[in-house]
Amino acid sequence: MTDLLTMGNTAIVLDSTCDPPPGFFERPGLYMVPLKVHFGDETYRDGVDMTYQEFFAKLEASEVLPTTSQPTAGEFLAVYEEARQTYDHVFSLHISGEMSGTVRSAEQAAEQIDGVEVYDMRTVSSALSLGAERLRARLERGCTLDEARAYIRHFIDHSSLLVHAATLEYLRRGGRIGRAASFVGGVFDIKPLICAADGTLQGYAKVRGLKKAMAAMQRFVEENSKPDDELYFATIDAINDEEPQLIREMIERLRPNSHFVLHGHVAAVVGTHIGPGTSAFAMIAE
């Protein structure tokens, strides 16, 4: 084991709620463990068996609402074993334990094997892939174990995620929305803005109309960053091509030192809970 961690000796494992851009996991050293989506008796592996377009087409057509389930510890262990054959270190970064049991499966698996550190990232979706991407940037340059761990802690404490959701109905039904359980969305043309906080999703603002939404998103960026911060962003959408571009233009006007490093699509599990028409961005100041 060397002192310096690189992408040559270190792997990153994520779960499919990271809503990755296409090709994200085709790069060496990156692994994904899928959650599962169930339409009645049919089961699909998130991000594996269906494209996101196929998923939303099925969601619209389906009479039954899909349910989701976390990976088993065994599934994590299989991936960890595979990764450890090539890599000395594994950082396993996951959806908040308040939102899913995924991280507990990962922890159980990690107890069976050396060299795997599991982190509850206290967030979800593009924030997970952004965290992995920025960790990867450090590993490509090479960093110490302490530096890698410190970055992950920094990301957990300081990253933010803002989702412009089409509806909160699924989230509420699944009990995945926190303090703002009474937060209204999806009715009377309200598309709520929800943010990750304390490991859960909480209401940030209720808005009707894209312009008000953009104004609220701008306020969110202003509240969560300083003008000269180096900011890294990941955007995603669920059948909403236009909005990520508008978000990007707004943020680039507001914060000159902004870097948009990822753009992905909402995959099936997150899509099940947020619904089509959603867009979101994750942000970290470094």
Partner: protein
């Protein structure tokens, strides 16, 4: 006669007077939208006072005066009703402290009534009820204390009549429409009834003028027509509140009253030989109707089961054990679709509303109390209900904040900002911010010819109104809606909400959607089925 029965007689006479002129007062409303309900609001407010007295067995001037005040505050509907209740409160404050009702007391009472009314209105407008009560109070002060009540009543009526006729010149809107102020005239009618009731009590032939007021410019005041009103009341527990109008020739009121006496109470027989308004509480409404038919044609028949009303109210109160946590919202809403939207947005209680169905302060209080929450936000959703809501808020021991929403779509925009975790005041502030830039519009048909904001409108024409200003008129609803949309485009609306009630209007939603796509291309436009009465289209722009 006891103080309570005396009060019932006098107030009953006032009620009979306003009931008889209710339609006339309603028609005086200047605005050519179907909100002509000043007469109705005044009548319902006075009726609430009467019911308060009839349901209690209190005695003595202080207690009866307090009951009258309470009844009017609880029953007040519409802006006119609220102002009336404040006048009543002022009158009763003075009366309640007096040993009897001397000329000096009455003068002071009128004065206090006027002061109290002005206090209730944030921005008093001259040429309204306020001016009329003030002029009446001022005239009273010039009558020496040594003269009798009868002389005072005559002087006050005279001053009131002149003041009512002058309202036409004081408000441009009234001048244009050529009418006197509805509330001011209603107040005069009530005063005349009151005076007639006092005359009845004193068995004195007080010659209170019933001269016709020139309701429309040019018609002039006619000769006194109606004979003095008469009223009679006794109390016991009859079941059906029965009222009707008899039209015939040479109707013998005294005989009909005598007929009613053994079969009911609270009997009021008012009018002249050709038209008589009858009100009685009885267990035999059918017998009353048959007897009335012998005298002429009957109309405006209304029979209400007072036992059922009481029962229904009790059941309603029992049906609402749903105690809410945090801050709750009570909204005044008309239309099933609109009510559903308010509920979806987290509104806890809905009080039936609408332009001609203004709820009373008591109804709002009842809704607030039923929820059992300490923090309450009230959305009146109608300019005519805001004062009522504020009155209710002032009477409640809870923290009640009123957000002055002037229409249903504005109320919905306020609901979007609602946060049950914040307190009533915090919510009211956030909701007020949310509606600060909201434009409100309605499309309806004119109930009368008029000229408004430089636009000629004929009865039956469709009108588009934005923020209270007429922006378009035409035969078709589309034309009026088009005018509204153009105005929305002019103010650079980004988000437009349209609440429809198009049944029977001959217009399809698709047609309106096409119009919106064409006229407000830069706005997001959302349609919802509102189902509100009288207004095929309500809209807002943000």
């Amino acid at each position: 006669m006891s103080v309570r029965l005396a009060a019932i007689t006098v107030i009953g006479a006032a009620l009979a007077a306003i009931e008889a002129e209710r339609g006339v007062v309603n028609d005086l409303n200047v605005y050519p939208v179907p909100d002509g309900d000043t007469g109705t609001n005044l009548a319902l407010t006075v009726r609430a006072v009467l019911e308060e007295l009839q349901q209690s067995d209190i005695e003595g001037i202080p207690a009866v005066a307090a009951a009258v005040t309470k009844g009017s505050l609880m029953g007040a509907r519409g802006n006119s009703g609220i102002i009336l209740s404040q006048i009543v409160r002022g009158l009763c404050d003075v009366w309640g402290r007096s040993a009897d009702l001397t000329t000096a007391d009455f003068k002071e009472a009128l004065s206090e009534g006027a002061t109290s009314a002005y206090r209730a209105v944030k921005e008093p407008v001259e040429g309204t009820m306020l001016t009329v009560i003030r002029k009446m109070a001022e005239a009273a002060q010039s009558v020496p204390d040594t003269l009798g009540i009868d002389r005072l009543l005559v002087a006050v009526e005279e001053a009131g009549r002149v003041a009512v006729e002058k309202t036409t010149e004081q408000l441009p809107a009234l001048q244009k429409a050529g009418v006197v102020d509805a509330g001011g005239y209603g107040l005069l009618v009530l005063f005349r009834g009151l005076a007639a009731g006092i005359a009845e009590l004193m068995h004195a032939g007080i010659a209170v003028s019933l001269a016709r007021v020139a309701l429309r410019t040019g018609e002039g005041g006619g000769a006194p027509q109606a004979p003095p009103l008469s009223a009679a009341s006794e109390l016991s527990a009859y079941r059906y509140c029965t009222s009707l109008l008899i039209t015939g020739e040479a109707i013998d009121k005294a005989a009909f009253e005598a007929f009613l006496l053994p079969i009911g109470d609270s009997a009021l027989v008012v009018g002249n030989q050709r038209m008589v308004k009858v009100h009685v509480h009885t267990n035999a409404p059918g017998v009353v109707l048959s007897e009335a038919l012998k005298l002429g044609a009957i109309g405006e028949v209304e029979i209400n089961d007072m036992h059922e009303q009481t029962k229904a109210r009790d059941e309603r109160l029992q049906d609402q054990p749903r105690l809410a946590e945090g801050t709750v919202v009570v909204a005044v809403v008309a239309g099933e679709g609109n009510k559903a939207l308010f509920r979806e947005l987290g509104c806890h209680a809905i009080v039936d509303g609408g332009q001609s169905m203004n709820p009373s302060a008591a109804q709002l209080l009842e809704a607030v109390d039923a929820l059992g929450a300490e923090e309450v936000v009230v959305l009146p959703n109608n300019g005519n209900v805001i004062l009522t809501a504020e009155q209710a808020a002032g009477m409640s021991p809870r923290h009640v904040a009123v957000v002055p929403s002037t229409s249903i779509p504005v109320g919905l925009a306020a609901m979007v900002a609602f946060d049950p975790g914040s307190d009533a005041v915090g919510n009211a502030r956030a909701m007020q911010d949310a509606i600060a830039d909201v434009h409100s519009a309605e499309v309806t048909r004119a109930v009368r010819d008029s000229e408004l904001d430089g636009v000629e409108v004929r009865k039956g024409q469709a009108m588009g109104i934005v923020d209270g200003r007429l922006v378009a008129a035409g035969e078709e609803l589309e034309e009026a809606f088009g005018g509204v949309l153009e105005e929305f485009a002019r103010v650079e609306a980004e988000f437009v909400t349209v609440l429809t009630a198009l049944n029977g209007s001959g217009v399809s939603r698709e047609r309106l959607e096409e119009l919106a796509a064409r006229l407000t291309p830069d706005a997001e436009v959302h349609f919802h089925e509102g189902g509100q009465p009288l207004y095929p289209i309500l809209a807002s722009a943000e």
